[in-house]
């Protein structure tokens, strides 16, 4: 780490940012796509194909839940010190004061 510019932290933020910050909306987009295909709304060329596919619908819901879990983890992360201080459960890297 230089005095002026924190290369190390910036690089870490970039890498994890790309994984999580770009990955999460991409995951959500996959869920939307699977949902649309599962509902028979869309074919690969964008035209309606008309038949439903429960497997794709299930996949879509699975992907949505993964995204939701990520948001819940985000909230827990923000609240981790508060939770730790009030319940004694130190999660996600929270440290006792």
């Amino acid at each position: 780490m230089s005095t002026w510019f924190n290369y190390e932290a910036s690089l870490k933020i970039l890498i994890f940012g790309l994984l999580l910050g770009s990955g999460l909306p991409a995951l959500f987009a996959l869920a939307v796509r699977a949902g649309a295909a599962g509902a028979g709304v869309v074919g690969s060329d964008g035209t309606a194909v008309g038949h439903k596919n429960p497997a794709l619908t299930a996949l879509s819901w699975l992907l949505y839940s993964v995204a939701l879990v990520a948001v819940v983890i985000g909230v827990l992360y923000i609240a981790r010190d508060f939770i730790g201080a009030h319940t004694g459960m130190y999660i996600l890297g929270a440290k006792p004061a």
Partner: protein, 411 residues
Amino acid sequence: MNLQLFLLIIVVITALAFDYTNGFHDTGNAMATSIASGALSPKAAVTLSAVLNLGGAFLSTAVAGTIAKDLVNGHLVTLQLVFAGLVGGIVWNLLTWLLGIPSSSSHALVGGIVGAMIAAVGGHGVIWTGVVSRVLIPALVSVVLAGLVGAVGTWLVYRLNRGVPEQRSEGAFRRGQIFSASLVSLAHGTNDAQKTMGVIFLALISYGAVSRTAALPPLWVIVACACAMALGTYTGGWRIIRTMGKGLVEIKSPQGMAAESSSAVIILLSAHFGYALSTTQVVTGSVLGSGVGKPGAEVRWGVAGRMATAWLITLPLAGLVGAITYWVVHGIGGFAGAAIGFGLLVATASAIYLRSRKTKVDHKNVNAEWKGDLTAGLDDADQPTVTVGAEVPGGNGKVTGTAPAKKAGTP
């Protein structure tokens, strides 16, 4: 009442006022893209954001090492200096709000305090390496990192959703945006309320009302700060929301969600890796990225350029206001100095508020078509303009706030 107590009361009131401006200045950070994409109605968005900011503020258990710790020599800090710094922050926040420019509230506060410090003891009271490495460089890093992440996310989203009917995909992303925007609001509440709590805490310690070893500020400080910020958030900085959501890039819900996810993740990561990045710059970077990443989308670089200019002059101008305020308060001295300083702040704030009423931007017209600058086309008495006219790219209709900033501190 002795002078120190009088100063303390003024500092507390001013700090809460700063917190309020911080709240409404930053509503746009969390909610602008949701409002622009239609994911949330303007009123619902600011209400949700206010509630989450309130909640976020209570989640803070430790006072953020006060904002100025690594930037100025702590032994030289006085109540008058803190007051002058806060005035610099408030005036700059109000001016940038008037012009609809999202600029960092933290930078404004830092600028004010640094300026007041220079006025008080000269440049040696300021830790310049800290100012550069903790404020200036992170600002640039924020925009670049968030821009990259936002662009990649947006590109992926549009690539993966190719062939999905637009209506279906936009509907889904609108629902998703509610979660991503909430995350940004919560993170913001936790980070930013601490800033003002830290300032009041510092003032209480220097007065002797709170012991130097206390870990947490008194409950009333937490409650007051949380409420001031939530109230500010609820008021909604519509002018800034408009620039963020309509001016910079025309935001659709998939872009909005990509931008918000990028912002939330980068803010949390920067806290995790101990490299504080400013929320405003992160969000602006993400929004720019979402414009770059969407095939065929237009980014109004003229608007981005105006913002960049405002960011560059935030520190010096907030510093100038802080310095002038310090000279006034300290120069006159005593009760009169503090009272006159406070009076000037109220006068300046009122003047800016009255100026903003000339062309009002509120929840009714915040999403009106962007016609070259913030208020173009809004003059027709609250009626959102619906005509689809030729759009003037870039917004250079207004100049930056140099002149009013000077006027601000001059008696």
